[in-house]
């Protein structure tokens, strides 16, 4: 699905460029959400399995909203990246705290201590 490029700070951007980046960020996020909605309706996945980057968020949000509205097409399973040892990715934090994922998996014991509702499954690599 469509991927929103996150702006990165190379130390050379001006306030105007920052504003332009924010505006394009909002626009590409909207495009990603619309694309996710289209994919959900077309594919009607029974399982959404995701891992880490924010590209999964639009799809998970749509699937979760559908569930809230009573359309239980998809179960959401999130496996936090092996690169996350002590802290979750932002996408993981959202899915964990808002209880959007049906099952949440972490690969390091430190994370399971901080996020007790997660399943610790060891290093999967």
């Amino acid at each position: 699905m469509m991927r929103r490029e996150l702006p990165h700070d190379d130390g050379e951007t001006t306030p105007l460029l920052h504003l332009l980046e924010d505006v394009t960020s909002v626009w590409t996020t909207i495009v990603a959400i619309v694309h996710a909605l289209w994919l959900m309706i077309r594919i009607r996945p029974q399982v959404i399995l995701c891992n880490g980057p924010g590209t999964c968020i639009p799809l998970c949000v749509i699937a979760f909203l559908f569930k809230v509205l009573g359309i239980r097409w998809s179960s959401i399973f999130y496996v936090e990246s092996v690169a996350r040892v002590k802290k979750l990715f932002l996408s993981g934090l959202l899915l964990y705290n808002l209880r959007m994922a049906d099952q949440f998996f972490v690969q390091w014991p430190q994370l399971q201590k901080n996020y007790p509702r997660a399943h610790y499954v060891g290093c999967l690599m």
Partner: protein, 176 residues
């Protein structure tokens, strides 16, 4: 740990993945690092420099010093890792686990110029578990002088079965 010996050639393979990591490339071709590698019996240094700008000077090693070569990208670095006796890598999880699964000694160098440096968490955790050594560009020489590759513990690849089992159970499939 396996040694990629081939006609007495002992290769050090350096990889920065798809990133730009000039600090590592410069550190690896600095005089004291090359001397330390040479002292430890390595004969060749091959650098995959990715999107970096700095091109190190090549050397054919005919005068008995370390032979140095580089390239930018390759579709797969697995063969380079397999033929290496030592791998020095940036802290990307892909490069780290590809090297560990091939059973090669690994030094991970963390890029201090990166904004969000969560990568060092993984490298430091694996170092604590004695699967690799972790360094910064400026401390690479020190790590090389102190490292004892025989003391590294071989990494055992993970198993996804527990994840599949939990998902199957949640979806109502019977346990095998």
């Amino acid at each position: 740990m396996e040694d990629g010996e081939n006609d007495g050639k002992r290769l050090v393979f350096v990889t920065v993945g798809t990133t730009s990591f000039d600090a590592l490339v410069k550190a690896v071709v600095s005089q004291n690092v090359k001397e330390e590698l040479h002292k430890r019996g390595y004969t060749h240094l091959l650098i995959q420099m990715g999107r970096g700008i700095y091109s190190p000077p090549k050397c054919d090693g005919a005068d008995g010093s370390l032979a140095v070569d580089y390239f930018t990208f390759s579709s797969s670095i697995a063969d380079y890792i397999r033929s290496a006796s030592l791998v020095i890598s940036h802290a990307g999880s892909g490069s780290i686990f590809e090297t560990l699964k091939l059973g090669k000694p690994l030094i991970v160098v963390v890029n201090e110029d990166l904004m969000d440096n969560h990568q060092c968490e993984l490298a430091e955790e694996l170092e604590e578990r004695k699967h690799l050594y972790c360094a910064r560009p400026h401390s690479l020489h020190q790590t090389l002088t102190k490292m004892e590759l025989d003391s590294l513990v071989r990494y055992t690849p993970g198993d996804g079965t527990p994840v599949a089992r939990i998902i199957d159970r949640f979806l109502g499939f019977p346990d095998d």
